[in-house]
């Protein structure tokens, strides 16, 4: 069988050429932590949490973007790797609010998971912990730039899946941030609230506003559903709490399954016991409208039931 053979943590594996170390490790059921990687998005290699040791190399390459090579010997949890991962988590936490106690994302947050996995209780560094204003003047998404770890997943999701390119990197050095163009709020931007970005965000920096206050993540029983409203068939989760569907969460996009606001709203109307009143964007901002209007059914209704 053609391909590349390598050894990961003393286990041999053979994979097709061009496979990344991360994918090869998955073949062996070895999980390497990742914050910025998502196989549906283009490779980025930014968080560096996935670094591994490769015998004979001076640096620790990032497993998510490093192709395997014949005869490679990889260690995924060597002392140097663990030191690097712990340090990276400590560095991220130095500029993080650490609100896990009240954060909606708690229990479903990768940063929290990895801090737990590597036993990082506190950071030895003094960060600046900026107090950037919350961006929540729209009915759908709460953007908390203070919790953003700049993994760039939302940037790629918005651009590559949605084709909208609302979010982008701005500024340099420690001031770097992910923002809509000209640093306006999401509500003022060209955002169409498809929530592709929310679905991929590994932290609480981008959150579904409908979910706010509805419960802790571990109280929900998520059920995967497919949106029936168009041929794309996008993925969503019905979040059940004590048997009642409390919200419909974006399930994460895939190529050709772009997810849209309309699909999510329609599912919300169908499944939620207490659907919130929908709002749409008008010239003057967001306004509450009827469900028929929100779902664009007025025209259809007009044809079916002429007044």
């Amino acid at each position: 069988m053609p391909g590349v053979s390598l050894t990961i943590n003393d286990k041999k594996v053979r994979v097709p050429a061009g496979t990344t170390i991360l994918e090869a490790a998955r073949e062996l059921n070895i999980t390497i932590p990742t914050l910025c990687h998502d196989k549906r998005l283009s490779p980025f290699g930014a968080c560096r949490l996935c670094v591994v040791e490769v015998r004979g190399r001076k640096n620790l390459p990032a497993a998510c973007v490093t192709p395997v090579e014949e005869g490679m010997t990889v260690l995924t949890e060597s002392p140097a790797v663990v030191e690097a991962r712990r340090t990276i988590i400590e560095l991220l936490l130095a500029n993080h609010p650490l609100d896990c106690l009240t954060c909606e994302k708690s229990g479903n947050c990768r940063l929290q998971d990895y801090a737990y996995r590597y036993g990082v209780k506190r950071t030895p560094f003094e960060g600046t912990r900026d107090q950037l204003p919350l961006d929540d003047n729209n009915p759908f998404i709460i953007r908390d730039p203070n919790k953003c770890i700049l993994c760039g997943k939302c940037v790629r999701a918005c651009q590559e899946i949605r084709g909208q390119a609302v979010l982008g990197f701005a500024f340099r050095g420690p001031a770097t941030r992910v923002v809509p163009p000209l640093d306006v709020s999401l509500g003022e931007s060209d955002c169409v609230f498809c929530q592709n970005c929310v679905a991929v965000c590994p932290t609480g920096a981008l959150r579904d506003k409908y979910l706010a206050g509805k419960g802790r993540w571990w109280e929900f029983q998520p059920e995967a559903v497919t949106c029936p409203f168009c041929a794309n068939g996008c993925h969503f989760y019905l979040l059940r709490k004590e048997g009642k569907v409390v919200a419909v969460a974006a399930g994460g996009a895939a190529p050709g399954r772009p997810m849209c606001l309309r699909g999510r709203l329609a599912l919300t109307l169908i499944f939620c016991e207490e659907p919130p009143q929908p709002q749409i964007k008008t010239e003057k901002g967001f306004a509450a409208v009827s469900w028929t209007e929100a779902l664009g059914l007025e025209e259809l209704a007009g044809k079916l039931w002429p007044k």
Partner: protein
């Protein structure tokens, strides 16, 4: 006919060389000397500190710091009466001797100017001046050879990239040549973001055709039909000269369709960059040319396989390209005879800091630091003690006196904890605090980090915070270990060269000057007496005449004493502002 060359490089223009040129032309006219002397402008000589420079040829007499008012003397005394204008001659900082001939000045005598040969000697805005010194002969030669042969010549010459990492140029060309794809590109990296570096600027301003010729040879060798010169917008003169050179080269058939009547066609374009340091990193530079944010991406794929718009792209530095025509003209063997076993040819350095002669110097690889600093540079200013030389730009390292005899080549420098980088050489004397030096460079790199990867964006700012604390006397036990751990992780895990090398100034100063860090942390003392917040101010009672100047101006009210009696400073109250030190005429105040 005699020639009067007036430097029109950025440095000399800033010290008003344009006015000198105008005044010279007017004076020649007034004295009816236009038939005998011709005024010409040149690019930088690398001696900008002495500028504006005026050279009288054929004798090669150099006049320094020539002002408009001096023009009359040059014309009447030198040109008409054949007498040197003594006061405008260069004075050797060591022997104090006046030196008339350009090539007798130590600064130049000990250099080997091959790449810089034309800089300061030909008019960069006139292609005929370049053609007169065998310009475009290298391209002609290359076009008569098979592509593989041109690549072989570069491989045999041993040329390595001058942009920092020293990657073998011939090998890079070969990769790009062999990469599949029929649209290939050549790119010239003229971003030159290192603070204090100006070698690439000088070459572009002083000899732009050499760079174009080098790029065209590379384009032919790898099979590219298009190329970009990415030059920082802060170099307006370089951009202007490149535009002129490009237009002239097109007009004469050296660039564009069917170059020199062959089947080879290549167009070159200029792109101005917004001047972020990280845009010099090759993948960030390519992104920037494509109109995206200048942010590095992981390699592989290397640009040689997937560069501009995903096509095979050869990217080299300005100086690298400027070496290429020389190699083609004079042969790989000649080139390989310069330099050392593994580092061939010459390298241009920007010599700055506490040396007597500062400027651009081109030296053969393998020359020692001592020769550069003490012979060419004339030694340390005010004859103070040498402490260290910082080499390799903001992410290079600081080498102490014990390394003065280190041969300057890629591998020795890297082994000693520094690097060639683009060729910055900052000399430091014994008044320099090495912790502060490290802090200074990290302050630069942390601000210039593109912000993409965690270790670089977050890690360097933490290293900076620790260093800043130490220089303020708030260092703690464990700080050095923390610095070392951060340095290790950042070097090992950062995505691009910026992060991977940013800790070097800290690591090299920790390696050679650890005691200085410890003095700051443990004894709250700055041995170089440079960190203001760690100094204590004292008054020598034998020198103080009780003039009360310091007492009256001390913002902290820390000084007491009767008039005409020696004063004293209360260290508890003293705010360490240094006012008294500057004020005291008796020099009675000293710091410890």
């Amino acid at each position: 006919m005699g020639r009067i060359l007036v430097c029109a490089g950025t440095g000399c223009v800033a010290s008003h060389s344009r006015q000198v040129t105008a005044r010279l032309k007017a004076a020649l006219h007034a004295h009816h000397l236009e038939e005998r002397f011709q005024v010409d402008n040149t690019g930088c000589h690398g001696f900008c500190e002495q500028g504006p420079l005026v050279i009288i040829e054929p004798e090669g007499i150099l006049y320094c710091r020539v002002r408009e008012e001096d023009v009359e003397a040059i014309v009447t005394e030198h040109l008409e009466q054949g007498r040197l204008v003594e006061r405008l001659l260069y004075q050797d900082p060591v022997t104090k001797e006046k030196i008339a001939a350009y090539n007798q000045i130590k600064f130049y005598r000990q250099q080997s100017r091959h790449v810089l040969k034309n800089c300061g000697h030909i008019n960069p805005e006139n292609i005929d001046a370049y053609l007169a010194v065998e310009g475009y002969q290298g391209l002609k030669k290359a076009l008569a050879l098979p592509r593989e042969e041109v690549i072989n010549i570069i491989k045999e010459s041993g040329l390595r990239g001058r942009g920092g990492a020293g990657f073998p140029t011939g090998l890079k060309w070969e990769y790009t040549f062999k990469a599949p794809g029929d649209r290939k590109y050549v790119v010239c990296n003229a971003d030159e973001g290192d603070p204090g570096a100006f070698m690439d600027r000088s070459v572009l301003e002083g000899d732009p055709h050499a760079v174009l010729e080098g790029m065209l040879i590379a384009a032919y060798a790898i099979g590219a039909r298009e190329g970009y010169i990415y030059v920082r917008a802060e170099y307006p003169l370089a951009v202007q000269r490149l535009r002129i050179a490009l237009a002239q080269a097109r007009e004469r058939g050296f660039c564009g369709e069917r170059i020199l009547g062959t089947d080879f066609s290549c167009e070159l374009y200029i792109r101005e960059g917004a001047g972020a340091f990280v845009c010099g990193e090759e993948t960030a530079l390519l992104a920037s040319i494509q109109g995206e944010r200048g942010m590095p991406r992981p390699r592989p794929p290397f640009p040689a396989r997937q560069g501009l718009w995903g096509q095979p792209t050869n990217i080299n530095n300005v100086e690298t390209y400027a070496n290429v025509p020389l190699i083609l003209r004079r042969g790989a063997g000649w080139y390989a005879s310069l330099g050392t076993e593994k580092s061939k040819g010459t390298k241009i350095f920007a010599l700055t800091g506490k040396v007597k002669n500062t400027g651009l110097v081109e030296v053969p690889m393998g020359i020692t630091l001592r020769e550069i600093i003490f012979n060419i540079g004339g030694g340390i200013l005010e004859d103070r003690g040498f402490k260290a030389v910082q080499i390799g730009g903001p992410s290079g390292g600081c080498l102490p006196a014990e390394h003065l005899d280190l041969p300057v080549d890629y591998d020795s420098l890297t082994a000693a904890g520094a690097m060639m980088g683009s060729g910055g050489l900052v000399v430091m004397d014994d008044s320099t605090c090495m912790v502060e030096v490290a802090r200074f460079f990290l302050n630069f790199t942390q601000a210039e980090s593109c912000g993409k990867c965690t270790p670089c964006r977050e890690g360097i700012q933490q290293m900076l915070a620790i260093l800043t604390r130490i220089t303020r006397g708030q260092g703690r036990e464990g700080d050095l270990e923390q610095l070392e751990r951060l340095a290790r992780v950042i070097k090992g895990t950062a995505l691009c060269g910026l992060g991977q090398t940013a800790p070097n100034p800290v690591l090299s100063t920790l390696r050679y000057f650890r005691a200085e860090y410890e003095a700051h942390i443990r004894d709250h003392r700055c041995p170089a007496k440079s960190c203001r917040e760690l100094l204590t101010y004292h008054i020598d009672p034998d020198k103080c005449n009780g003039c009360t100047r310091c007492r009256r101006r001390c913002p902290a009210g820390a000084i007491s004493g009767e008039a005409r009696e020696p004063h004293t400073i209360d260290l508890e109250l003293c705010a360490r502002c240094g006012t008294c030190l500057d004020l005291c005429r008796q020099k009675a105040i000293y710091v410890e």
